[in-house]
């Protein structure tokens, strides 16, 4: 049985996290690890000020990247899953491109697309794109041909098949892929924001705080980045649970 993930367990996790942090801070006993009670008030104060803006900039980039990845990867995956010849042609290419760490393309994107938010967003979108395209392709491939035929016999053409079969069939897997790739996406965001921008949590953590030795403020930035990851993760997780409700309902009798 999976442990329940509710509000209470969330608070328990948070409590343990803060406790470990406090113990670590005592043990290390150096400015590089300030205790939570010093950082949390700073975090609360800064979030309503400058840190909030950095947070918004980072969140905006990730959300734009997720949107961009979804609108490109879902149709691409469906096309691969429905048209066998396309799938045969592109499978070897995808197998090569999939494991390449996309972060190494950052300089290339800067040169090609300019030092703008667009290049950062595209880099993150690229990471999510492959994850989602592959699962959508596999879901489309795994749909039973009899299901497609019988829905076609009800009058469905390509658009209705997408709306009533392919989309609901691949949605759970898309959300899982999204949830799993959010960690990587935020990590890449951190790296991409360290330079050539003036807003973003990555910039705040590295340039505005770490390099000028403002450790408690740096931890406020780290907390902001963690919060971003946690919010995205549980946001997707919540939608996922809603979507998968039928599996849960179908399981009990």
């Amino acid at each position: 049985m999976r442990p329940k993930t509710g509000i209470s367990s969330g608070f328990a996790g948070l409590g343990m996290f803060l406790l470990l942090w406090q113990i670590g801070s005592w043990l290390v006993n150096r400015p590089i690890l300030p205790p939570p009670l010093e950082v949390l008030p700073i975090f609360a104060r800064l979030m309503t000020g400058p840190l909030g803006l950095h947070f918004a900039a980072s969140a905006g980039r990730v959300l734009a990247a997720i949107a961009l990845a979804l609108v490109t990867a879902v149709p691409a995956g469906l096309a691969l899953g429905q048209i066998p010849i396309l799938n045969r042609i592109f499978t070897p290419l995808i197998a090569i491109l999939y494991p390449i760490p996309k972060i190494v393309l950052l300089p290339v994107l800067y040169v090609l697309m300019g030092i703008t938010d667009i290049s950062k967003i595209c880099l993150i979108a690229l990471i999510i794109f492959f994850q989602i395209m592959v699962v959508v392709r596999d879901e489309a491939l795994n749909l039973h041909p009899e299901l497609i035929l019988s829905v076609r016999s009800l009058g469905a053409g390509r658009r209705a098949l997408f709306r009533y079969v392919y989309f609901p069939a691949s949605l759970p897997a898309v959300l899982t892929a999204l949830r799993v790739s959010i960690g990587t996406a935020v990590a890449v965001l951190f790296i991409a924001e360290q330079s050539l921008t003036t807003y973003g949590l990555g910039y705040y953590i590295v340039v505005e705080t770490y390099q000028v030795l403002l450790y408690p403020q740096m931890y406020a930035g780290i907390l902001g980045m963690s919060l971003l990851g946690v919010l995205l993760y549980f946001g997707v997780f919540t939608i996922e649970k809603q979507v998968n409700q039928y599996k849960h309902d179908a399981g009990k009798d």
């Binding site: 039973h144 009899e146 299901l147 035929l149 019988s150 829905v151 076609r152 016999s153 009800l154 009058g155 469905a156 053409g157 658009r159 209705a160 709306r163 009533y164 079969v165 609901p168 069939a169 039928y246 599996k247 309902d249 179908a250 009798d253």
Partner: protein
């Protein structure tokens, strides 16, 4: 003739010809049972009638009109896997209407006289859920149903669209005997009461004899001549008239073994 196949030819890309200038017809209101060994092109024939495959030669007319694509008046029920696993019985039964509403009355995906009246639809769905005896299962998911209940759902889904042709591909072959006999009787009476013309593909001789007004026997390999038998034993079961029933079964068995 409600359904007329005129000199149709069909072959799979790999060179296997299944039908070569093959002709047969089904009169309005009749049930045609198609029987033959697996690999005999039974399912292919049904997909041709459904407009999901196109003959390479000849044509199929339904109600006088050439069939060029899936036709709104055709209902198709397959052996299994036809229901959306993530939708309840009620939502599955409503699926055809949702698709019609999605396209509107365009004559291709839905009939030109289609109107999306929600209260009428609710009423229709309620009627077919109870006619198929699945109204207490309306909020269950396909995985929670028995195979027979799933087939009832698939039939209800088709019937809510008011078809005039019902095409079934081995719909009862995975069911236990009492369940499949019940459903056979149900489809026979639906055909009569809803003025349907039904084609049912099966590999089980007793099913063909119980259901078919006529029985079309297909063979493995190329089908050129349609062997259509009249079936006076239609509607009878072994219990009611063992003599006539057995005799007809024996005839079909002999024909299946000795098709020229």
């Amino acid at each position: 003739m409600m359904i007329a196949a005129e000199n149709i030819s069909f072959n799979y890309g790999s060179g296997g010809t299944v039908f070569d200038r093959f002709s047969f017809g089904v009169a309005r209101g009749e049930i045609l049972a198609v029987i033959g060994p697996s690999g005999g092109g039974k399912t292919t024939l049904l997909y041709l009638l459904a407009g999901l495959r196109m003959p390479s030669h000849g044509r199929i007319r339904i109600n006088g009109k050439p069939l060029l694509r899936p036709r709104p008046g055709n209902g198709l029920v397959l052996q299994d896997h036809g229901l959306l696993p993530w939708a309840t019985v009620r939502d599955n039964v409503a699926l055809g209407h949702k698709i019609r509403r999605f396209y509107g009355p365009d004559g291709r995906h839905s009939p030109v006289d289609f109107t999306c009246d929600t209260s009428l639809l609710e009423e229709k769905i309620a009627y077919w859920l109870s006619r198929l005896d699945i109204d207490d299962l309306a909020d269950k998911y396909p995985a929670q149903l028995s195979r027979g209940q799933r087939q009832r759902t698939a039939i209800a889904r088709t019937m809510t669209l008011d078809p005039d042709v019902l095409l079934m591909d081995e719909p009862f072959s995975a069911l236990d005997a009492p369940t499949s006999e019940n459903l056979q009787a149900l489809v026979s009476s639906l055909t009569r009461e809803s003025d349907l013309t039904t084609v049912i593909v099966t590999h089980q001789i007793p099913e063909a004899v119980r259901m078919g007004d006529h029985i079309l026997v297909v063979r493995r390999g190329v089908n050129r001549h349609a062997h259509v038998m009249a079936n006076p034993a239609c509607g009878e079961t072994f219990r009611q008239a063992p003599g006539a029933f057995n005799h007809q079964c024996e005839r079909i068995k002999a024909l299946l073994e000795n098709l020229p």
